[in-house]
Symmetry: C2
Subunit: 154 residues, 2 copies
């Protein structure tokens, strides 16, 4: 299995990052192949795990989920029990869209999606601050989007 991706593979990934639902013939045209080898390359990229999957991108505000908040979290201690308890608990909250353990200034960072500031405040005080691992939380609230999306630079 050749590990490298050639120019056509990269073009395929770029196209599918733009529109994950384009038909295979459309994709084949866009990258300059006939449908057969194009589909084979896509399947191979999926098998190799280069393509993790496909998702629909939903519009938060139109679903009543207009507020995104970035929260930085400090733990009381940094031992494994504290960390695991935090991870287990956080995984259960649907409001938490992303969460990472970090090194540096804080111990964890998360992106929380709710309807509005009031709902966020309820989440923070009723749930987040009640996790025994958590000592303190600081939030940054995006007011304007300069750039969004999860596309990787190819």
């Amino acid at each position: 299995m050749s590990e490298i991706l050639d120019a056509i593979d990269r073009r395929i990934l770029r196209e599918l990052q733009r529109n994950g639902r384009m038909s295979n013939v459309e994709l084949a045209n866009a990258v300059g192949l006939s449908p057969s080898p194009c589909l084979r390359r896509v399947k191979l990229l999926e098998e190799k795990g280069v393509i993790d999957g496909y998702v629909a991108v939903l519009n938060g505000p139109k679903l009543g989920l207009g507020l995104t908040v970035f929260a930085r979290i400090w733990f009381k201690t940094q031992d494994a029990e504290t960390t695991n308890l935090f991870a287990e608990t956080v995984r259960k909250y649907p409001e938490v869209a992303e969460c990472y353990l970090t090194t540096g200034e804080c111990d964890a960072i998360m992106r929380v999606v709710t309807t509005d500031l009031h709902a966020y405040w309820r989440f923070q005080s009723d749930h987040l601050m009640r996790i025994p691992s958590v000592q303190s939380v600081k939030t940054d609230v995006p007011m304007e989007t300069i750039k969004a999306g999860q596309q990787l630079p190819l």
Copy 2:
């Protein structure tokens, strides 16, 4: 145009958030409809802008893009020129996956994707810090992922 989404619409969105490339018949089965009305609902959700689009989710590490960094940025001043200059410049950098202007402690927050720490350091010192708007930057580096993805809670 009825603004509300019923239970079936929500189930459609949930399924398409999991697998944006499932066929319409598959989706219809999953939500308990026949293909015809199912497709009509999907098209309507797209027209209404509830579904913004579809994207392939790529595996960063397998593409040599293994490092994500969250950077908080402080501006020298908060006037419109400073902000616009920053926004214009940042939009051009492919390493910047997301970027928001914030209220609160810092002025902007961004997610940067690079191959490794060295590449990030080059980006920060050679590009980010040279934007005249920027006074200082603090970074948080995710070491472990507790939860990832861009799915909205439905």
